[in-house]
Every structure is written in C-alpha cells, then in structure tokens.
Amino acid sequence: MAIPKFTKLTTTACPLNIENVDTDQIIPARFLKAVERKGFGDNLFRDWRYDKQGNKITTFPLNDPKYGGEILVAAKNFGCGSSREHAAWAVFDYGFRVVVSSFFADIFKNNALNNGLVVVQVSEEFLNKIFAAIAADPKAQFEVDLPNQTFTICATGDKTSFDIDGYKKECLMNGYDDVDYLLSIKDDIERFEQSRS
C-alpha cells in the first residue's frame, strides 16, 4: 500500500491566519460516521465555510476566489485536539498537499505524514513573511522542495529550511507506507516478544 509520492511543488497558497485551529474545526465530529475514507474534503472547515443554512461564508479564505493552490498556511498550533486522522484526510482530500505553520500539534503531524500530506514548520517570523506575501499578491507562488528541505517565497526569493524526520522523508519521496515496513520486520518483533516472556 503506497502513500502519494512528494518531491517538489510550486503553487499558490491559501492563508488561514488563526491560531490553535483544532481538529473539531478541521472536521467536526458529526462528519466522522463514515466507515470508508471518502469525501472528507467536502466538510473541511465545515462550520467556518458554511453558515447554518448551508450558504458559503464568502469571507472565509477557502471560499475567497482570489486564493487557491495546494498549500494551506495557518497560524501556530495547527491541528490541536483530537487524534482523528479524518482531519488530515480532509485537508488532503480538499486538495492541499502541504500545510505550513509555525507550530503543529504532535498527533496531527504524524497523521499528516502518514498520508502523504507534507507539514512544513517555519519560524514565526518566516510565517509572517508568507502571510505578507499572500496579502501583497494572492497569486504569489511558493516552492516546497522536500529533497532539499526548503520552502521559498518565489517573488522575493526568501528561503527557509525545514526539519523532517529522515525516515518520513524517505517514505514521502518514495511513497512508502509504515505498515509495509513493520510487516517486513515481523521476525524482529517476534524475537522481541519471546525475549520478554
């Protein structure tokens, strides 16, 4: 079973300058009743995107036609709250391939990486530069280079490097899946079990 491969991407970005975006906002609990992984993107940020009557809230960045692209840029502590992987699925299913923030909640980060959604953690200062670049030009382009672990604001050439676990980087670049890896070390696991009994 493979995850989608990722190497390099140049695209526009959608700004979400809100802190502590929790997984109940990303995908409210009432949309977690599915038994398959389908259609979660439709309900991404459901209660921020639509009003009670189901009309689009036009001021919300995802509904604003001037923004688009495959990068979501959010303020600090993105993905806090529950462990629901549906949150990562929803972000990916909507069409984002990268989420940028100055700080990610741990479980969300793991969930994203396990699904081919790249998380790029940058400094608070660099994050503000990204928001400023989008404010100056909503069609501003950004480059995410996973092999070199860099994120570039194309218009200004401003570049920052980002950290990623070496194993996870390999997985993302090659589309490897953790379960396949764990199944491949079955003998080690059995030896470990025997050593404990």
Partner: protein, 467 residues
Amino acid sequence: MGKTLFDKVWDAHVVRQLDGGRSVLYIDRHYIHEVTSPVAFLGLKNRGIKVARPQQTTGTPDHNVPTQDQDKPVTEEQSRKQLESFSQNCEANGIEYFKLGSPNHGVVHIVGPEQGITQPGMTIVCGDSHTSTHGAFGAVAFGIGTSEVEMVFASQCILQPKPKTMRITVNGKRGKGVTAKDIILYIISKISASGGTGHFIEFAGEAIRDLSMEERMTVCNMSIECGARGGIIAPDQTTFDYVKGRNRAPKGEEFDKAVEKWKTLASDPDAKFDTEYTFDAADIEPMITYGTNPGMGIGITKTIPSDEGLSGSDKVSFAKALAYMDFKSGEKMLGKRVDYVFLGSCTNGRIEDFRQFAQAVKGRKKAPHVTAWLVPGSKMVEAQAKAEGLDVILKEAGFELRQPGCSACLAMNADKIPAGMYSVSTSNRNFEGRQGPGARTMLAGPLVAAAAAVTGVVSDPREVFNL
C-alpha cells in the same frame, strides 16, 4: 544519569531504533472504538491480512452511541451502520468487545481501567487522544491516528518519535472544593493549550500523590489539552489497591510478583527532565473556562482577562474566542447564565464524579431552566450509582441518569447543545462547536457543574454548598 519513569517504560518496549529518531515501539494493549477503527480494518482487508495479536486488543463502541433507549435499535442510519461495522470487524478478527448495553460496556478510557486491563508499566494506545488517561497507572499511554491503528493491527507495533520529558510538580494540599479537574485546568491555564507539545508529562508532588486513582485519571486524561502526548504518574499503593481484584488483574502470587515489578516504576532521583514546572496546590481554586481552548481557564472568582500583552495572531484569536462566547474582558464569570450542564465523559464520568455531584445536589432542586445530562462513563458506573442510591438522590433533586457513552463531550450522537446556548461541562474540550454547532462550552469540574445546575448560573461551589 538516572532515567525518568517515562524513559524506563518506553525503552523497555523499543524493538528497533531507526535513523532519524523513530522507534519501533511494541504495544502491550490496544483499545479500539467505532470511529477511528473502520478505515484501519479496511486497510488490513486490502492487504489481505488479519489482526496479528487480537488477544491484545479490546473494543467498545462509545463515541457514536445513543445515551437513551440502548436496548432498542439505533435509529440514526449512519451511526447504526458504523456500530454494526464495528461489531463485524471485531468478530471477524477475533477481538473481544463490549457490546452496547452489555454489563461491561462504556467509554473506552473508563472500561479499560475498571476491567483491570490497564496496568502499570504497559504501553497502551488507542485511536483517541484521551488515551493519556491510562498514564495514571504508570503506563505509557497515548492517542494515535487511524494509520497507526492499522500498524498495531498488522504488527502490534508502531513507528513513533520519542517525545521529550516534562515534569509538573504540584506541591502542598489542595483547598476545599478543589477537584482533580481544577488542578489540571489550572495547569493548562498556566502552560497554555500548546505548552506541553512534543512532551510526555510526569505529574508529581504531594497534591498528585494525594489523589485517588480516579482523580489521577482525570489529571492524565487532559494532558493532551496542553498538547502533550501523554501524562504519567508513578504507581504506588493507591494504584496497586485499585488494580487488585479487578477482572483482568493478575491474581494471587502473580499479583504480588507484578507489584514487586511495578514498585520499580519511578523516576530515578537524578533523572533529568527536558522541562520542569512547579505549582502550589494552595493557589488553585475551582476553575472554569471562558474561551474556546482549554488553556483559557480562570479561578471561578476571577474576571475574564484582557488581551493586554498579546499581539498579531494571538490577539486576533483571543478576540475571536470571546466573540464566539459573547463574553467581554473584565467581566466576572460568577453569575453568567447556564442553559445546560453535562456530567460525564472520559474526564469526569467515573463513580467518584457521580458521588460528588449527587452529594452536592442532595436536598436541593435543579434550576428549572437548566437542562442537565448526567451520563455515566460505563455500565459499571451506572450500576454502582444505582447500588449506592445516587439515582434516587438525583431524581429527588430533578436529575436523571442517562446511559453510557461519550455523549455531549463531542456531540457525535444526538446529545447536542443548541447554538448560542451556554453549557457548563465536565468534559475536556471547549472548542467552537465541540458540543454542537454554535454551542458555548465552559469547562469545569463536577462540583462547579453541580453548583451551576442548582443555581442556573456560574456559581462558586464553596459558597453554594458551604464547603
């Protein structure tokens, strides 16, 4: 250099260490529920494999179950399908599960400990962030995503980066009317909703040692609300006494042998933590939250803080939270209108919580305009409450017990708080819309909830109940 308790348990479960920091971690106990497991089961099916160690997994449906008429078919179609699929998956893979309505059924983080499945020194995971609850026993327990649930199904292991360690020491004795919930809400208000991110927290100090097992579970349960992967408390006599005699606990000589081993589970005196905080229990009063993350809590007699000192997105987020709650800086929390009261959840759905609530409201009446949902965490809690006559006390005061489930904590079932309404809730999250679209949540402990239920406004339980 000595080892922390967390390091001791973690290191004993590392099967293999990968370059870049990830460990292949062996999992002793896996809990599952109906919401985060279906796609993992589907993944196994697509790979043509079955659950590798079904005897190490226990299931219970809780997030999506009705809390009334559990003996009748579930009416909501999607929920019913999810529950049916859960039963089928457990049966097809030989996994024991506690069926809705059966005597052992309940919320996953309540039933694991009460059955004695959760024990000191174990690694425990579940596709639910409040798995941190089980750390109260000196276990390394944390929430995982569905991909990781599939990893555990397939191999009984997960790949995981090792978190940093943090120790939070709470010294001294707590005051009257201060519950475990107040201690943890106080800690989160001090270190913020993200202050524990990347860490595993050991809770220590006299005020923590003084807690009962159920209270320790409340504290560890909310470790995730400051962003931590989990919380852990060194096991002691309180722990051993709790585990002894439970269904799945070791028996006789086996138990004594286990206790000898469990006694070694403590941080060495010279162990170093990456981060340390120290608080004084005497500074803690009954707490309540005023905003939309669990870090936005204050002592119940305090006023809502201002945004002074905040800038940029901090300031915007603070204003957004107050606008959602329709609160203003400088206002007192005391006297705020309360429409709903929720007692329950994996945070405060245990028998001691129901005793505390029932004893408080005994001889009083529920405020007429308040809707109260009292949801036991399990069938065993429900049965115990009835055996002790708590249901009668509650009925006389105008309350009734519902049936076990996660209920209004996440409002996935029909227990939704209507838009704009104010709820004093003993659950763990006050996020926008958490208890229903537009619902406004004030988190608190069972005593503050009881005071709100009888007065109809936010009240200090020490005054209302003469504590």
